[in-house]
Symmetry: C2
Subunit: 224 residues, 2 copies
Amino acid sequence: MSPEKRKMQRNRQNGIPLTVVKRLPGYQRLLSELANKEVERISSRELAAKMKINPSQVRQDLSLFGTFGQQGYGYRVSYLLGEINKILGINTHTRMVLVGAGHLGRAIANYENFTKRGFIIEALFDQDPQVIGSTVNNLIVKDVRELGAYLATAPAEIGVICTPAAAAQEIADQLVRYGVKGIWNFAPVALKVPEEVCVEHVHIGESLMILSFQLRQKEKKFKR
Amino acid sequence: MSPEKRKMQRNRQNGIPLTVVKRLPGYQRLLSELANKEVERISSRELAAKMKINPSQVRQDLSLFGTFGQQGYGYRVSYLLGEINKILGINTHTRMVLVGAGHLGRAIANYENFTKRGFIIEALFDQDPQVIGSTVNNLIVKDVRELGAYLATAPAEIGVICTPAAAAQEIADQLVRYGVKGIWNFAPVALKVPEEVCVEHVHIGESLMILSFQLRQKEKKFKR
């Protein structure tokens, strides 16, 4: 195998290209909205328009998970949503802990959309004595020094890091030591973790850059 | 032109495919890090490894903006960073207002990375009398009823919406009425805006879904 091909494979998740994986939450959101409106079926063309990609791409994306579509009929919304939910681990109870109960941490702990999908933050930790003991969304913020002891008795699958950059690696190491397998990182720093641990780094600013780019493009267009 | 092709074109920004546009902030971040480490040049292969795409994709992406690479030499980091900064509107002063000074709004107002890149939040607004008058990152939170009057005298290019879903459309309408051309929307609701206005909707939960997916894939792999 060429090194290039090997690298490509590393960027696939169980045979699914990373670009497709990144579209799955979008499909999930659209299909949830359709299901809420009791829409029964949708064509690849309609789905494509909502996803802002082309219909053949939709058909190709969804074919990776089996053959859900039927020619001339389209996709059954509830079935497709169910399959995508399974793939994304939605509606199974996923246990989470959050470290860093500042503004961002509190915003995330208060976000109902995660809970509704089965992603439950079960404990919050901070190092600031003024924050420890305060209540966020019915949880009392614990001392970060209790993190290991807590995880030893109540294991979590996902750890959310909302600390400043300087503290993030140490927290990540501790989470991993106590069996956390997924890290959702909001700290602006790249984390080093063992191969079996997943990290998703949230770069909030990326969408601001994209907005800025689009603004500049539209300025040109509307000035013409 | 086929309807499919027309749709594809709509998803391009000035001839640049949306998938490439979405990678630009990643390139920008990597190149900034390299520039800070005083790295002078980088090959498409190295850039590809860091971006987790393949080298030919990198060459194709960057060729859209002109021919920056040189065979056997690679890309000049500072030059490429400069070009991408120009394209993304980084380091030009972009004026922003933020509405909704709750936890998320405060987290964003406190985020230094935006300011460093020239994206300046110049005023904050809220409707809660307990929040109005409080100080966030040296700015006093104003009454949202003053939003129009403020923008009339101090126009902004980007409006950041961190309100609950129910209030977001009304705020968007007002921002647009007073000349805001870009909306960075954190409220979990789709906004309707005129064609000349850009919206970037931040779905914080998307990366959590991707993390959950990856966790499940790795579980399978490491159990084998």
